[in-house]
Subunit: 341 residues, 2 copies
């Protein structure tokens, strides 16, 4: 199943607007999903539409949320996402962080009362495209144990980073701080594959490889104490500081329909030009990139695979997963929407 980007964008907007999303909110979700599909990260693409619609219908995702800004300092602001789309809140937050960084060299926006924000790389790329260094973090519901822990206490708490490259294929780095991303577990369930040994445990601490059992168990942090420390850093910055839910205060988008996610996000932009001539920065980055690419057969830079996929999608259209596409087509038909593509 191949689709042109504008057509996919319109389709997502139609579907969400039919389900009470505001025009701005729907367009933000569509931009995010189209970008992720183009970058070959289907886990953060249309696959999420059914659960979003389900949450809107359950009244736990405010598809037309009012969001409220609170100015803390010339370089700091908080955005109350009003229980709306994390995609919309985080995109607006990074835009504001970039604007503050243009004015004063640095900008930080904390988002509270939000929901799942998708792929952090999208927001890091916003900053990179504006000639800035970008950092994006989000907390999420407890799924990861501490070293020697049996019950999960922190989320997979992703951390993303971006920096501009001359050729527009910006450095983009996006990681779950757990040994496995939640989306990887769901992908394994969908495909019927097993997880590698030693990345997830059951409630007694025994290693499990059946992805369906992770819901009752937990994921291990990346590299033990290091990954857990990183997850805690994300929890402090994105959750504790912003006033969002923390630990059990954040709900699972797939398993808890009693209330909004209450996720928090942390978005930061740093203006490179304040520190060093932009061209010189990019030259230095290219020297480093050249050294990394020459350091062994098959070495790559973070982000390169996304940009290869992106360029292919620009040329050939977006290749969608047929199962995922079928699911959203059914959703559209149930809502009586003309697919328009």
């Amino acid at each position: 199943m191949r689709i042109e980007r504008q057509a996919l964008h319109r389709f997502i907007c139609n579907l969400l607007e039919t389900h009470d999303a505001g025009e701005r909110q729907a367009a933000a979700v569509a931009r995010h999903m189209v970008w992720c599909e183009m970058a070959g990260r289907g886990n953060f693409g249309i696959e999420r539409l059914p659960i979003l619609v389900k949450r809107i219908k359950a009244g736990v995702l405010a598809a037309n949320a009012d969001m409220a800004w609170e100015r803390l300092e010339p370089s700091l602001a908080r955005l109350d996402a009003g229980g709306g789309f994390g995609y919309d809140a985080a995109e607006r937050a990074m835009s504001e962080a970039i604007a503050m960084a243009k004015a004063g060299g640095i900008g930080v926006v904390g988002v509270t009362n939000s929901n799942f924000f998708g792929a952090g790389a999208y927001y890091a790329n916003q900053a990179a495209a504006a000639g800035m260094i970008g950092i994006a973090m989000s907390n999420s519901f407890p799924k990861v144990v501490a070293p020697d822990g049996l019950r999960p206490t922190l989320g997979t708490n992703p951390l993303a980073f971006g920096a501009p490259r001359q050729n527009g294929r910006h450095l983009l780095f996006d990681m779950a701080t757990s040994a496995l991303a939640g989306s990887t577990v769901r992908e394994a369930i969908a495909k019927g594959t097993l997880l590698p040994e030693g990345l997830a445990i059951d409630s007694e601490g025994k290693s499990i490889t059946d992805p369906a059992k992770v819901a009752e168990g937990a994921l291990l942090p990346l590299g033990g104490a290091k990954g857990f420390g990183l997850a805690l850093m994300v929890e402090v910055l994105a959750g504790l500081l912003t006033g969002a839910g923390v630990g059990e205060g954040v709900t699972s988008m797939y398993n808890d329909f009693s209330r909004s996610g209450d996720n928090g996000h942390f978005l930061m932009a740093l203006d490179i030009g304040r520190w060093i001539n932009r061209e010189k920065f990019e030259q230095r980055l290219e020297m480093l990139a050249t050294a990394i690419l020459a350091s062994g057969p098959g070495t790559r830079l973070p982000g390169e695979q996304r940009w290869d996929n992106y360029a292919r999608a620009e040329r050939e259209g977006i290749e969608l997963d047929p199962t995922q596409w079928d699911a959203v087509v059914k959703l559209a038909q149930a809502a009586g929407i003309d697919l328009g593509c």
Copy 2:
């Protein structure tokens, strides 16, 4: 060998001042090393004195360096460390970041033209002790390969994070972005132990466990692409942005006596009170801490072990490694210094 903290501080100051260090510079190194010894992190304590003295004598460590401030914005500054002690430069940089955060909610200082800065946790703790969230990063000489790489292109590039706790035992998290820290490799060499399988490779990419062979080989990044991405983030922020050496531009403190390290550091402080009532923040952190500590037998918070060691050293004096102490005593005797302890 047990020593009282003030005595160790005076001894380090005497030794360094005899080797041309300024009073301020020597005291900064002493504070750092005494804190690390108390916290049970001997790898960043007096063990480094012989190499520091050797580098001063070789003329590649400016023990009495003039450092120059460059104000970039109300929240941003750069410190040119003048080829001096990284310990001194990073401590001053974090102090200034804290001062800027007091004034405007956030402060970032980039340090250029510096050297090895020891343990990032020390600087993160400065911020935590001031009621702030602190982040400290440094780049270092190439020792880590990219995934599928054969030649090292990035350093072990540490990343540290701190946040205040009510009980003064602040959250402190400090990690090398490589699978092993450089100091762990040197410790294994000193103790004659082998490295775990799969963390280091020779120049052909084969796994090695003999720590002495790492010098000719390389360390793997923590968890493959994730650790390498984190190392690159540190390199961009601490090296590229600040104007310091990058990649091969940074030298090994143990193996290259031709020039200064040219390390770069990145220090950031965020004032919690701008975002949320300080007491409420600490209550939220304690709730999370309680959940983590109750989540399994033996779970701990990042930093707790350091504070246990620190409290013991306060009660009983600092326990020094006898081999390391012998080495610095010889150094002092060679310089004709009264040990004073």
